[in-house]
């Protein structure tokens, strides 16, 4: 299958010395999967909504491609006293992308990981719940990584020690394992 992954620096795997990130780690030893990692540093759901269709175009083979989305941290980051993208707007983007992408192939929404900054982290927790509810309503598969990564603590410990936002190989590996263990991942990557 061709896995086309859209998102932010966490999807890209920013800071992972192995340059795999959680997406690359989740497809390790599966050379039958072609991974197109289209995460971009600093992008909000609005940025991704603007470009995902054009970039999916040349990479998509109908019947053998799946589209993965994961975002939220940059939406929740504060700029000029307000979140860069408000939660209602993020949900609108998520709904539009999942609905449109669902016409092209299987989709998967992976919720945002936590962040060390308490303010952003609190907004991420709420956004994660909203995204889960939305996904349920439009019947899009959703994987919740926020709660287990937050409870586990390794993700935020690494992020704090590195650049305040991105973990190292340990955090990304933990997130990959959570994703791989989820039935939605097996359906998404095995059923195409």
């Amino acid at each position: 299958m061709r896995l086309i992954a859209f998102g932010d620096s966490f999807v890209l795997g920013q800071g992972d010395p192995d340059h795999l990130g959680w997406v690359g780690r989740a497809v390790r030893e599966r050379p039958e999967i072609t991974l197109y990692n289209l995460g971009i540093r600093g992008e909000t759901s609005a940025d991704i909504a603007r470009r995902w269709r054009a970039e999916a175009g040349p990479r998509l083979r109908p019947g053998e491609s799946g589209l993965l989305f994961s975002f939220g941290a940059n939406d929740c980051a504060v700029e000029g006293g307000a979140p860069r993208v408000g939660a209602a707007q993020t949900l609108l983007h998520a709904r539009a992308m999942l609905t449109e992408a669902g016409k092209l192939g299987p989709v998967l929404l992976v919720g945002p990981p936590p962040m060390p900054d308490p303010g952003i982290c609190a907004r991420l927790e709420t956004l994660n719940e909203h995204l889960k509810t939305l996904a349920g309503r439009i019947q899009a598969p959703f994987i919740d990584v926020f709660r287990p990564l937050f409870a586990d603590g390794l993700w935020n410990r690494e992020a704090e020690a590195i650049d305040g936002a991105h973990p190292g190989s340990g955090g990304y590996q933990r997130m990959a394992e959570l994703v791989m263990a989820h039935p939605a991942w097996r359906t998404f990557t095995g059923g195409i």
Copy 2:
């Protein structure tokens, strides 16, 4: 630095069970490099010429981004009795992309690796020499991997054993080592 890599399935690392390819392997243990791998399976220089600018846009930070290009195998593949893209046309695309990209940041052209198919391989050998000459003429850095990979033999042995075109981790690692050992790579990845 932000390394934006445009190319075909070899740039993407198709078939590498580690999902790194030669580009990912060449930046291993260098987390200060953000890698945007924009290789796409099956693409010719004409396909890349059409999309590189739009995809570079949201990833580029002036003053801290380098643009890498590598292509040729799909140009040399035969379709309906003729190469998909003739050598003269490939050179036009290469010149246009390197010239335009050079206005945005440092560029690097990496020549195509060999292929097991003797006909394609012979055309690739000629194209590689043409690309090298062009690069010299427009003063773009060029790394020749064709000759050492062909002489070494591992690349083609792995490709033959796997799918007739793409090597496994050994071939990609060999190519990464050739690239990393080249002064142009050190300038490209160290000087930004």
